[in-house]
Symmetry: C2
Subunit: 238 residues, 2 copies
């Protein structure tokens, strides 16, 4: 992989210089020399929405960093009932460390760009560099906090509160502005949203219509959402 001398980023691979994982993701703890070594094994891949990235109970040959787009983690019961158990945004790390097979299916929710790392290469680097494991531990703890937050949403909130909570989560993750109002494109279909919230798609649609009727949001083209007032949305999260 190409590298370039640079006063501020001497020896850092070109691709890594603008990558979010380099700044806020796991690569932030790596030395330039480690980054160069790792980048020899990594490969940036694009995947269209709907692509399956890893299947439940299947062995996975590689880990990845999400560079662009949203990945959904799902679990399915024998009779087909499905639940989304997590969403991953750039620059999240993707993959279950220290076990042969993933407990979830990972699927591209929107078009995504991933930076793939072969299993063995990453595990070797982790074994050599405790700071990397520490960083991954921090992300894992954050994911556990988020999973537990979502358990409250699934177990104890009404349909209206669930949909508001979903919009709030997406708004805070996709629109970085600090303004009161935010807007973004939903990375999930109504069916996906239903699978994330433990509802039917009809109920999701009805609740979105209600939020529109109540002037909390506007929806254009079924996908683009304007939140007029984040504080008002938050109040509806229960």
């Amino acid at each position: 992989m190409d590298t370039r001398k640079d006063i501020h980023n001497s020896e850092v691979p070109v691709l890594c210089q603008s990558c979010e994982a380099r700044h806020n993701g796991m690569c932030g703890v790596l030395e330039p020399s480690e980054l160069v070594a790792l980048s020899k094994a990594t490969r940036v891949v694009k995947q269209p929405a709907g692509a399956e990235l890893a299947a439940e109970a299947e062995p996975v040959a590689s880990y990845a960093n999400v560079m662009r787009g949203v990945v959904k983690l799902t679990k399915t019961l024998e009779d087909g009932r499905q639940q989304i158990v997590g969403l991953q945004f750039a620059p999240d790390f993707l993959g279950r460390l220290f076990t042969q097979s993933s407990a979830v299916t990972a699927q591209a929710a929107s078009d995504v760009e991933l930076c793939r790392v072969p299993r063995a290469a990453l595990e070797r680097l982790i074994a050599e560099n405790p700071a990397l494991e520490h960083r991954l531990m921090q992300q894992t703890l954050r994911e556990l906090d988020e999973a537990r937050d979502w358990m409250v949403t699934l177990g104890r909130k009404t349909a209206a509160e669930k949909v508001a909570s979903f919009l709030y989560l997406i708004a805070t993750h996709l629109d970085p502005s600090k303004e009161e109002a935010r807007h973004f494109d939903l990375p999930l279909t109504r069916a996906d949203i239903a699978d994330f919230l433990g509802l039917t798609l009809e109920t999701v649609s009805r609740q979105l219509s209600k939020l529109r009727a109540d002037q909390v949001i506007a929806i254009a083209n079924n996908r683009h959402v304007d939140v007029f007032d984040m504080a008002r949305l938050k109040k509806r999260c229960g």
Copy 2:
């Protein structure tokens, strides 16, 4: 703290020799010398059922290992709705690493015995010993897997399947026998079970009565449960 020379456990503190955390918990990765040093700072405490061990959004002064009993982790909405987001059994580690305050309330579900470790002592040991962080990472990943499993239960299962799933979880954690039939005392009240399953306590009670009527379980004294056939119970988990 007292120590004793022993051919097989030279220098290991007496209390640690019979402790589950020494065998399957985080202390399993510590050298005898580290264990001696750590045990100087730890303190075994008993707490009655209902005792609050750590409050949501409050700073915590110590971590702990669960030695006996069950600890419930709960989250509460402003209006009082509650959700149990995790149960911890011996020899689980208790506490949120690397952040000032816990995101959950920890409460003794049954009478419990904890081995308390001051925050600073454990964090120093983790910084010095990557193997310890690795072990804690493994538990964190396991907890994340369990949280995601439970999200499917909360979001997509019926009341009957939820109650069966709860009994299955408790049976596999509390009765280590490999037999088809198992029996144990429920560590949770009906209200707690409801808060774990996202149901009302009346619905929990009705579903337990149904399982009894269907000869899947027997209940004595409201707390003691006999599962006649684990395979049959598992089929009812959805």
